[in-house]
């Protein structure tokens, strides 16, 4: 459904979702087209854009977001500059972390993303800590911690959830179930419904469709309001539709770049992945809803996509042209206050 916000804001959400998609298509092409540009493996957020963008739309710049190895989308959703995100992903001095973090750990403290952990569940307790800080400081900041279904296999999840509830922390646990681990029912978690786990600790829990911008926005803006009022913590399970290009450690553009016209012409999608793009792709679903129920013209969406693609191309160019960090600086930043 469409979120109950202005048309301009609705288009702003689509723009950010498209920006994440286009930027990450560049990441995959970086890997495919440039030998040695990406030395290690990487993960993308494709298929989960509705969650990150809708949640961040419900937050203020002062709110904290903690992220995972699928952070690229969260950083752009919180207002990150795609050029600096892409530069960080390929380890450039112009990146958000001056090339020290790389694809797995993009943090952007200025945007409230003070730390990102690529260890499954790594940020759950840290986020509870940031929420604890807000509580002590009597600030109104809300902390949102994004994590996947796999993090619910980790012990730290239970410790952080328990303490967040005991201490009534202003924290929203945002589990993006992409069914890569525990979410595959019965494979690695004994709970039949993962959402029953936080309920067992008396943490109020909501399940939403992770491709439904309106539902996610409505749920998280209401929870953010209640969290600010001291009613937290809360737990949200956003059930996303796993993108077929995500198998393995090096995602592939299994259908090439996303064609925005697939939103209204599913027959044009390659056979092998047609069902996902026709029914599961949150970007195309939202574009289709805007046309059907939001009074937005197809041409308007095509123009928006063209503008986003141009900006993403420029961002990729900026990243590729940016310098690597000076090798002499490798030992810098081990300790604060000792840079000289």
């Amino acid at each position: 459904m469409l979120p109950q916000i202005s048309r301009e804001k609705q288009l702003g959400i689509l723009r950010k979702m498209l920006m994440i998609r286009r930027a990450e298509e560049h990441v995959i092409r970086f890997n495919e087209d440039y030998e040695g540009l990406i030395r290690g493996h990487f993960h993308v957020y494709i298929g989960q854009e509705a969650t990150g963008v809708s949640v961040c739309e419900a937050l203020t710049p002062e709110d904290y977001v903690f992220s995972t190895h699928r952070n690229h989308g969260h950083v752009i959703a919180k207002g990150g500059d795609p050029g600096r995100v892409l530069a960080e992903i390929i380890g450039r001095e112009t990146g958000y972390c001056r090339g020290r973090a790389g694809t797995f750990h993009v943090a952007a403290p200025d945007l409230g993303i003070i730390h990102t952990s690529a260890i499954v569940g790594g940020c759950l307790a840290l986020a509870a800590g940031a929420a604890f800080a807000s509580q002590v400081q009597e600030s109104k900041a809300v902390t949102v911690v994004f994590f996947g279904d796999g993090a619910m296999e980790e012990g730290v999840f239970y410790e952080a959830l328990n303490m967040a509830k005991l201490w009534q922390l202003p924290l929203i646990f945002l589990m993006e179930n992409n069914y890569r681990r525990a979410g595959r029912s019965g494979t690695s978690h004994s709970a039949k419904e993962l959402s029953n786990v936080p309920r067992a600790l008396d943490v109020e829990t909501t399940v939403v469709d992770g491709a439904d911008v309106g539902a996610i926005y409505k749920t998280t803006s209401e929870l953010a309001r209640r969290t600010r009022a001291g009613e937290g913590p809360f737990f949200v399970e956003a059930r996303t539709h796993p993108w077929p290009g995500n198998e393995g450690a090096h995602p592939k553009l299994v259908a090439g770049s996303t064609n925005i016209d697939w939103a209204w012409d599913a027959a044009a999608v390659p056979d092998a992945v047609r069902s996902w793009y026709a029914e599961g792709d949150p970007v195309l679903i939202f574009a289709r809803e805007l046309v059907k129920d939001g009074g937005v013209g197809r041409d308007e969406i095509q123009q928006l996509d063209a503008a986003v693609r141009k900006e993403a191309d420029e961002a990729a160019h900026f990243a590729l042209e940016s310098p690597l960090p000076d090798p002499q600086d490798a030992v810098k930043f081990a300790y604060a206050g000792r840079e000289s």
Binding site: C97, A107, I119, G122, L126, A131
Partner: protein, 325 residues
């Protein structure tokens, strides 16, 4: 003027002053003291600062992470982990989150958290409550390591960690020193990290000692003096940052070195310090560097066995004697 107090009381005193002085200082965990008069002192703090003192569930991984996250968001938490081996439950959050955040962010996210833990062979702790993880933490870039050996140093170093530090700190006090009394100067003072102290001057041999090994080395030096051997005892006080200059100056003066730390010998604090000395003061050495540590075995329970593996004053004296003769 100075007051006699235990390390436990000195730590509570430092915490109380720091909480008074800086609203960002909070405590997660117990009261830094297990027994004695420090308890009453801590009870007063708990009453005064109830919203800034949290008693967590038995969840070291969780609350060490919460403290690190709170530090990232502007607080200056002290965590009382209790027995040092409990910190093993929290290694992922301490080593793989708190320690790396500043570096990962390219110098943007500070994590001024202090993890306090009681280490070492306490007497009857057996294989799981006698741990000395200082070499692990010293081996972790991003962490500072403090090992005070006296109440006065404990107070000054803890104040520095809570009020000045911009980095995560592992703060060790030896179990057996917690209730030892010593003079603590009046008033608010801090001991900057990275300043070693010569605890006893000597000419013939340098004993570099950390934590509980400092009083043991001082006892050894006293005995050696009666035999005509003049031993200098140097306490680094913090391993990271490390005051190499003071250590090397003593080595250059005496030409003989015993390094002693109550941790297992492989890749130990003593081994690391010995390597630095071999590297940077080789020409001054008149004998091989000797290490007095715990042998490479989990600390056993029986009194006879525990005593055997403990790096006592007598073992330190033996090592020094062998170098001088």
């Amino acid at each position: 003027m100075a007051q006699e107090m235990t390390i436990g009381e000195a730590l509570v005193s430092a915490l109380g002053e720091a909480m008074e002085q800086d609203r960002r200082v909070v405590l997660i965990g117990g009261g830094l003291v297990s027994s004695g008069p420090g308890q009453a002192q801590f009870a007063r703090l708990r009453q005064k600062y109830s919203s800034r003192i949290k008693s967590p569930p038995i969840a070291e991984l969780g609350f060490c992470g919460i403290a690190a996250g709170a530090a990232m968001a502007g607080l200056r938490p002290l965590v009382d982990i209790g027995t040092a081996t409990f910190s093993y439950e929290a290694i992922p959050q301490i080593v793989n989150e708190a320690a790396i955040a500043y570096s990962n962010s390219g110098g943007q996210t500070n994590v001024p958290v202090t993890y306090f833990m009681r280490y070492g062979i306490r007497g009857g702790g057996g294989v799981q409550h006698s741990g000395s993880p200082q070499p692990w933490y010293w081996n972790t870039p991003g962490l500072q390591v403090a090992m005070p050996s006296s109440p006065a140093d404990a107070k000054g170093l803890l104040r520095a960690a809570l009020l000045r530090s911009q980095n995560p700190t592992i703060f060790f006090a030896h179990e057996r020193l917690m209730d030892e009394r010593g003079p603590v100067p009046d008033g608010a003072y801090e001991i900057p990290f990275g300043q070693a102290a010569v605890k006893h001057e000597g000419r013939d041999v340098t004993i570099i000692a950390t934590g509980v090994q400092v009083p043991r080395s001082l006892a050894a030096a006293e005995g050696l003096a009666k035999e005509g051997i003049s031993a200098e005892v140097v306490d680094p006080r913090t391993l990271e940052p490390l005051d190499k200059n003071t250590l090397l100056a003593s080595v250059k003066k005496t030409g003989r070195v015993v390094v002693t730390d109550e941790s297992h010998d492989n890749c130990s604090v003593a081994a690391g310090l010995a390597a630095i000395i071999a590297d940077e003061a080789f020409a001054s050495l008149r004998a091989p560097i000797k290490r007095v540590t715990i042998p490479h075995v989990p600390v056993p329970f029986a009194v006879s066995l525990e005593d055997y593996v403990t790096p006592t004053a007598e073992r330190i004296a033996q090592a020094a004697r062998a170098l001088v003769r």
